[in-house]
């Protein structure tokens, strides 16, 4: 019988592809009380504005683990503990005696504004509204919960930082704009990446016209090891906007991912490469030397990537293409 390995109080190795804690420069997925999720870039020493929910110093979040909820108090943050689900006792209440004709809430909007300005906490405002409500006591327990929830959504000043897992980022994008993701849902994405046997150290080719969600999934599962060649249909390096919310570490991406366009990926085509030798035979200026050097590096990289692709030995091909992609 094995006695399982595994130290108690293990020393946790930092995660390979993504940061474990919030850092300046991260693009965060912030969930606000209304239920919406906003993508917000955390700039160093800058203030984060959440519209009517308030604003706070961005540095308060630096060093925090992902997934927690906070309340904004004087531009600073208080951590909110997770709230467990409540069991609600059923009562005999019905709406038999509740009349909707008269107004039931005597507190006027301007009175509420005053209360807000006086620094009263959201829960206290809601409490006042409940006390003044003419028929609150008559409501069913479910209805009371629903009422409180609605008010919380209006007056609360808290938010949650959503952990940028592949699942969450894909879900965020899917809800925001399904079309740009070519309808790839988190469960579909999960199947793609499993079926393609994406694993650390593997070599893959990808064609991604779904804003980079497939590329992000592949990178996430490669763990900073292996090689990914992406082929795109535009001239300049592809954008892959989904990668922004993933907050990949540079070391997990730059060494392993390269990109080619369809023409450059064609073995029968020779890309047009401008010369990197000075026409006059010698460099006219330092500026020209630097420029030509840069050009040489870029064209060498291009040719090398082509060679790599043509040499083959890739083990997987994942694609979500706009065009008919057949090798």
């Amino acid at each position: 019988m094995d006695v399982g390995e595994g130290p108690s109080r293990a020393q946790h190795a930092p995660s390979i592809t993504r940061e474990d804690i919030i850092k300046a420069g991260h693009t965060l997925l912030i969930k606000i009380p209304s239920g919406d999720i906003r993508s917000i870039k955390l700039e160093k020493d800058a203030t984060v504005h959440l519209g009517k929910f308030g604003s706070f110093h961005g540095n308060e979040l630096v060093g925090q683990p992902f997934g927690l909820s906070y309340e904004i108090v004087d531009k600073k943050l208080k951590v909110l503990p997770p709230r467990p689900m409540q069991e609600v006792e059923e009562t005999e209440a019905t709406n038999e005696l509740i009349n909707d004709e008269q107004a039931v809430q005597p507190l006027r909007p301007d009175e509420i504004e005053t209360l807000k300005k006086s620094g009263l906490h959201a829960s206290e405002i809601i409490q006042k509204q409940i006390e003044q409500h003419a028929t609150f006591a008559l409501k069913t327990e479910y209805s009371k919960e629903k009422y409180k929830k609605r008010k919380e959504m209006k007056y609360s000043k808290h938010f949650t930082v959503i952990e940028p897992t592949l699942f969450n980022v894909c879900q965020y994008w899917f809800n925001k704009d399904q079309n740009r993701l070519r309808d790839i849902r988190p469960d579909s994405l999960a199947q793609i990446v499993n079926l393609a046997n994406i694993r650390p150290g593997g070599r893959y080719i990808a064609v991604d016209d779904a804003s980079g969600v497939v590329v992000s999934a592949i990178l996430d599962r490669m763990g900073g090891e292996g090689r990914l060649v992406t082929i795109c249909d535009i001239d300049s390096p592809p954008a892959y906007p989904v990668m922004v919310q993933m907050n990949f570490r540079k070391e997990a991406v730059a060494p392993i991912m390269v990109s080619l366009n369809w023409a450059a990926a064609d073995e029968d085509y020779t890309p047009i490469i401008a010369s990197s030798e000075p026409p006059a035979g010698k460099f006219k200026s330092d500026g020209q030397r630097t420029r030509l050097n840069k050009r040489k590096i870029a064209s060498d990289a291009l040719l090398q990537t082509r060679e790599e692709l043509f040499n083959g030995e890739f083990e997987g091909y994942a694609t979500s293409p706009r065009i008919e992609a057949v090798f």
Partner: protein, 438 residues
């Protein structure tokens, strides 16, 4: 895990793909043989062949494909000792639990090792899987497979009843997957094994809703919360509020349905032109028949009148001779079938009224016209439609997946006076909040 060489070598595990429904593992041995419905193969002849090759059998009876194993192929090929998880569930759970290279994962129970192989592949050499199986024989079989597949560095298998005795690591793992009859008994143990400095995740896989209810309740009591991301389809439970959005969303449950689909290309749809033509022809025929019946009726009357007269004349001459004479011709009147009668009468009608029925003349021309336009339309490429439909009688319920998150405490070590000191600041919203601070 498995061979990464180009060619098959002795000792390799290979996936022999016969048909979509017949996929089996093969351990290549010197002198070994494979004899199946799809042919006879000597292992010695398979050695050196590139992975992925199609191989014809010696006796010409068929062919197979020899594939490099992947966890997905293994799931389809492995010998079942228990009900297993398939790709749809495995992929979803892996993604939800954020299992990736370097992850530390617990699985209970191991079962037939379907999920285990997928996790080992995903976490890689820098990650680890602790897998627990309480059935001794199954544990042994799984251990044997993990060793043969080169997984011993990544997977630690323990023969252990985790509900009674807990797990073997503490404050270590990122994710826990429980596929047990009574997962609620393992939840407190799971909490100990999970690391506390990051958000960690748990999934409980149960076929029955009653199990889900009890699991949710136990998770809630143990301090697990929702996804801290998105609301999944919430279950409505008796005695509990059917909540919609929450700041930190609730423990969520998903149901996976695995359904086969039939895919077919139906014949091209009939065009309006041809339907119309068909109806016009039917119209014409109906009119023709109606007019024929009228003519027959008229003819019938005339014939019967003539017959009556003939009978009367014959009666005067005497009965016997008449009967004999008329027997063959008109005596069989009642026995003549209606169709024959109609035909006779039609011919008679044609003699009397040689002009063709007007309605009938209009249709041939029209039909020809429709047929011509129909030909034109079919000359253009008909659009091919492919339909996919789930088999109606297959629900495909595999299980209910209940997911929850264990949130970390906030990062402490903040400067004095910071509002983020973890001991401070608990805010109660609900007027009746029995749980208070945590």
């Amino acid at each position: 895990m498995w061979s990464t060489a180009r060619e098959i070598a002795a000792g390799d595990v290979v996936i022999a793909w016969m048909t979509r429904d017949l996929i089996q593992p093969l351990v290549i041995t010197q002198g070994g043989e494979l004899n199946s419905k799809y042919g006879y193969y000597r292992h010695d002849e398979l050695i050196g062949i590139p992975y992925g090759s199609k191989v014809r059998s010696r006796n010409g009876k068929g062919f197979i494909h020899l594939l490099r194993p992947t966890p997905e192929l293994w799931t389809l090929a492995l010998p079942h000792r228990t009900q297993i998880l398939y790709l749809a569930d495995i992929a979803y759970v892996t993604a939800w639990l954020d299992i990736r290279p370097g992850s530390k994962v617990i699985e209970a129970g191991t079962g037939s090792g379907s999920f285990s192989h997928s996790v080992a592949r995903t976490v890689g050499p820098r990650g680890h899987l602790w897998s627990y199986e309480f059935h001794e024989t199954r544990a042994a079989k799984a251990r044997e497979e993990f060793t043969r597949h080169g997984m011993d560095d990544i997977v630690t298998l323990a023969h252990r009843n985790v509900c009674k005795d807990g797990f073997t690591v503490e404050d270590t793992v990122d994710a826990v997957f429980l596929d047990l009859p009574a997962p609620w008994d393992a939840i407190e143990h799971a909490k100990k094994a999970l690391r506390k400095d990051r958000a960690t995740r748990i999934c409980c896989f149960s076929p029955c809703m009653e199990q889900v209810l009890r699991t949710v309740s136990t998770l809630n009591d143990a301090g697990f919360t929702g996804t801290s991301s998105f609301t999944g389809p919430l279950i409505s439970r008796p005695l509990r509020p059917a909540l919609t959005e929450r700041l930190v969303t609730d423990i969520t449950m998903y149901e996976t349905l695995l359904r086969p689909h039939m895919v077919e290309a139906p014949p091209p749809l009939e065009k309006v032109g041809s339907v119309s033509a068909r109806l016009q022809v039917a119209d014409a025929r109906r009119e023709e028949k109606r007019l024929r019946q009228i003519a027959n009726a008229r003819l019938g009357i005339e014939r019967r009148a003539a017959k009556r007269k003939a009978d009367e004349d014959a009666d005067e001459e005497g009965q016997e001779g008449k009967r004999a004479r008329t027997g063959g011709e008109t005596g069989g009147d009642e026995l003549v079938s209606p169709e024959d009668q109609a035909r006779d009468e039609a011919e008679a009608l044609a003699e009397i009224h040689p002009t063709p029925v007007p309605a009938a003349s209009s249709t041939p021309a029209q039909v020809v016209h429709s047929a011509a336009s129909l030909e034109e339309e079919t000359a253009a490429e008909p659009r091919k439609i492919t339909l996919s439909k789930a088999f109606p009688d297959v629900r495909g319920h595999t299980s209910y997946l209940t997911f929850a998150v264990l949130l970390p405490v906030a990062a402490s070590g903040k400067p004095e006076g910071s509002a983020l000191a973890a001991t401070e600041a608990q805010v109660c919203y609900s007027v009746t909040d029995p749980h208070g601070m945590r």
